[in-house]
């Protein structure tokens, strides 16, 4: 293979100047790359903050910082990770790059709006980060911004929630764009039942983004008017009600965890058939379960509020609905394992990450039932159990989904291959590290250690130390994984268009894909996991 300029694909200079050709690009692939770089950078920030918080908890009392700093650190860790990393992660980065390619389209439906979304993301992120260094200091409310504290704290909450409002707007526009793209821009022959499951995951996610995020917007605005004007909508002294804040917040923020996890499930559904060399087991039930999660997930928000004093009837209903939403998630796990059954399994790195996802997500999902059941929730509510559950689902789930996507589509984006042995090793280190980091949290929670506390009783020391050591192992895994990918991008062996022998449309293009995607509009004649139609050994190898 020669290193002609054409090999650079969409990375090739456009003649508009480097900065302009990237910052004002309408090309969905470039926008996706911009998102990816930003998300990974913020991920680095979030990881450092998380490590600092863990380090502080190494010993009872002060270890490396004071209580106010600790409050700010875990708040920033939460805000950065949730709003800047996890919510945009897979849809904004990989969705932007690969959704149009999987559909056989030239671009998303509204390319300029797509660029605008990215700009909103950057502006929102800048405002959120500005809140750290201005006003009364970094917010110390936790990422949930609960009133009454968020209405009265002297720290810079107003600016932070304004940033969140703008980030929400960015998320809405991306979702809107994807819905219209999937409806309008599918290639001829790409019927709804031939749509790759990643696209289906993005579709379900996009609906949640569009329908739930406005509630976050209004909630954020209400905090601002509460703080700036003393409006009193959440202030009992003025006839308001702080519980209503919690309702509004979770009406968005519970569906938001499905914004985080459903695209990752889509990635896993795309990866597993490729490395099991088998059609996916139960395509339609996976599609149905994505939509069912999107729907039922919108009706369970108050399970975050079992101890808020709402009525027993409401507790029963929301507890029941929470169990209902566990069903479609479990359906997916069974479908993935059934796909692997009697498959010709190729244990390549993306599959290892996908298996890590299934294991860690199940650990988080099953403990979710403990929290969803009102009786047991009373015991573990607001303890480390919740923290452990959330991180298993989001870092173990969405995080691993993101890592799996990075390793799966790396050769498509770069045209090169990373070192597979190191990639697999890093996956295993990460799985070990995450269990070391988060499993002790379950035990701490069961023993009654509350979340967000700066200090703790000496009896919790051993488990806290175990968790902190786990965070170091996780760090080693992350460093190994990212350095391997960085090295692969520079020096990796060049691979062909379809190194994994996958059957979805993006693999029919050169790697990296050219700026204009498809020379001719492709015509789809078979399903996304129908490997029989591939020429032997994949194409171009």
């Amino acid at each position: 293979m020669t290193v002609a300029p054409a090999d650079k694909g969409f990375f090739a200079p456009t003649g508009k100047g480097f900065l302009r050709s990237w910052l004002f690009t309408h090309d969905h692939k470039r926008i996706g790359m911009l998102y990816l770089w930003c998300i990974l950078s913020f991920f680095g920030v979030g990881v450092v903050l998380g490590l600092l918080a863990r380090l502080e908890m190494l010993t009872p009392g002060a270890t490396i910082m004071g209580p106010q700093t600790y409050n700010a650190i875990f708040t920033l860790h939460g805000v950065t990770m949730v709003f800047l990393v996890v919510i945009p992660s897979i849809p904004a980065a990989f969705g932007n790059i690969f959704l149009p390619l999987q559909l056989g389209a030239e671009d998303v439906a509204f390319p300029r709006l797509n660029m605008f979304s990215w700009w909103l993301y950057i502006i929102g992120a800048a405002i959120a980060l500005t809140s750290l260094f201005t006003g009364g200091g970094a917010p110390d409310t936790g990422w949930t911004f609960y009133v009454p504290f968020s209405a009265v704290t002297t720290t810079n909450v107003s600016v932070a929630v304004l940033g969140v409002f703008i980030l929400g707007f960015s998320s809405i526009l991306t979702g809107l764009n994807f819905i219209v793209t999937i409806h309008r821009l599918r290639a001829p022959g790409l019927t709804w039942t031939r749509l790759p499951l990643f696209a289906w995951g993005l579709y379900a996610t996009a609906w949640i983004q569009v329908l739930a995020t406005p509630i976050l917007g209004i909630t954020a605005l209400l905090i601002v008017v509460e703080r700036v004007m003393g409006m009193g909508i959440f202030d009992p002294a003025k006839g308001g009600d702080p519980i209503l804040y919690q309702h509004l917040f979770w009406i968005y923020s519970h569906p938001a965890v499905y914004i985080m996890i459903v695209p990752a499930m889509g990635v896993i559904s795309d990866i597993i058939p490729v490395f099991a060399r088998k059609n996916i087991f139960g395509y339609k039930t996976i599609v149905g379960s994505s939509l069912a999660i999107a729907f039922a997930g919108s009706l369970v928000w108050a399970h975050h509020m079992f101890v808020s004093g709402m009525s027993d009837t409401a507790v029963m209903i929301f507890s029941f609905l929470t169990f209902v939403v566990a069903v479609p998630s479990a359906v997916k796990v069974f479908n993935w394992t059934s796909t692997l059954y009697k498959g010709a399994i190729r244990p390549e790195p993306p599959l290892i990450f996908a298996l890590g996802f299934i294991f860690l997500f199940s650990m988080g999902g099953i403990t979710g039932l403990v929290l969803g059941s009102a009786g047991t929730d009373m015991h573990v509510h607001d303890t480390y159990f919740v923290v452990g559950h959330f991180h298993y689902v989001i870092f173990g789930g969405t995080g691993f989904g993101m890592f799996a996507a990075m390793h799966y589509w790396f050769p498509k984006i770069t045209g090169r291959m990373y070192n597979k042995t190191i990639a697999t090793t890093s996956a295993i280190i990460l799985i070990i590290g995450m269990n070391g980091l988060y499993f002790p949290m379950y035990l701490l929670g069961l023993q009654g250690m509350p979340r967000r506390y700066y200090d703790y009783l000496p009896q919790f020391t051993n488990l806290q130390v175990a968790s902190t050591v786990g965070s170091w192992v996780t760090l080693i895994g992350l460093v190994l994984m990212f350095s391997n990918l960085a090295r692969g991008w520079k020096h990796g062996q060049k691979v062909g268009d379809n190194p994994w022998e996958a059957a979805t449309l993006e693999w029919t293009l050169p790697s990296p894909p050219p700026t204009n995607n498809f020379d001719q509009e492709p015509v789809v004649t078979h399903g996304p996991y129908d490997f029989k139609h591939l020429s032997p050994g994949g194409t171009d190898q």
Partner: protein, 198 residues
């Protein structure tokens, strides 16, 4: 390559966006209904203090402006660019009238010491305070949408003048019209909830 203008896609995107706007206000409507359930008597008392005449006038103004927005679309579809532009200007003009009316209403209330966190208001029963908190928040957010709508219509007017919106490619004007109807629609709910509730 350039994408052909996808009429249905553009309309679909706009409708989705309108959904998000309805949900944005939906959060406030939820707060309103819960609070009204809690303080029905105080809501009644507080509602009496609003000026129904001004409110009715504004409702008429906004519905008429919506009519003009619709006429602007029809005029453009029929190829009458000049008349379409006049109708857009009339829509913007009435939006301005709405804001002026709103300004006088708010101004009168504020003059009487009824505004968020005012010493006068905080002496009142909690339910009445809650009523006015919602009144200012919801009509305020609606007012911001009126301003945004005026900007949008002004932008569309400019696009028509530049020849970027034509009788053949009129979806942008249609979408701006849809947005304006939404602004109107939200007011049609706000008006009875605040002015006519008993």
């Amino acid at each position: 390559m350039t994408l052909p203008k996808d009429y249905l896609g553009a309309k679909m995107g706009m409708w989705l966006f309108l959904f998000t706007e309805i949900l944005l206000f939906g959060g406030l409507f939820v707060l309103y209904s819960v609070t009204m359930q809690r303080y029905p008597v105080e809501f009644h008392t507080a509602s009496q203090m609003l000026d129904v005449t001004m409110g009715t006038l504004n409702t008429v103004v906004l519905i008429t402006s919506s009519l003009f927005a619709a006429l602007a679309v029809i005029a453009l579809q029929r190829g009458d660019i000049r008349r379409s532009k006049i109708f857009i200007l009339l829509t913007i003009l009435l939006a301005g009238v709405f804001l002026a009316d709103k300004y006088m209403e708010w101004g009168a209330k504020i003059h009487h010491g009824i505004y968020p966190n005012s010493p006068h208001l905080t002496d009142w029963p909690e339910g009445q305070q809650a009523f006015f908190a919602l009144y200012y928040t919801m009509t305020g957010l609606h007012g911001i949408h009126v301003v945004l709508g005026m900007g949008l219509l002004g932008w569309v007017y400019w696009l028509i003048s530049k020849g970027k919106i034509t009788p053949e490619q009129h979806v942008t004007l249609e979408n701006a019209g849809l947005y304006w109807h939404l602004v109107d629609l939200i007011w049609i709910y706000l008006f009875p909830l605040f002015y006519l509730i008993t």
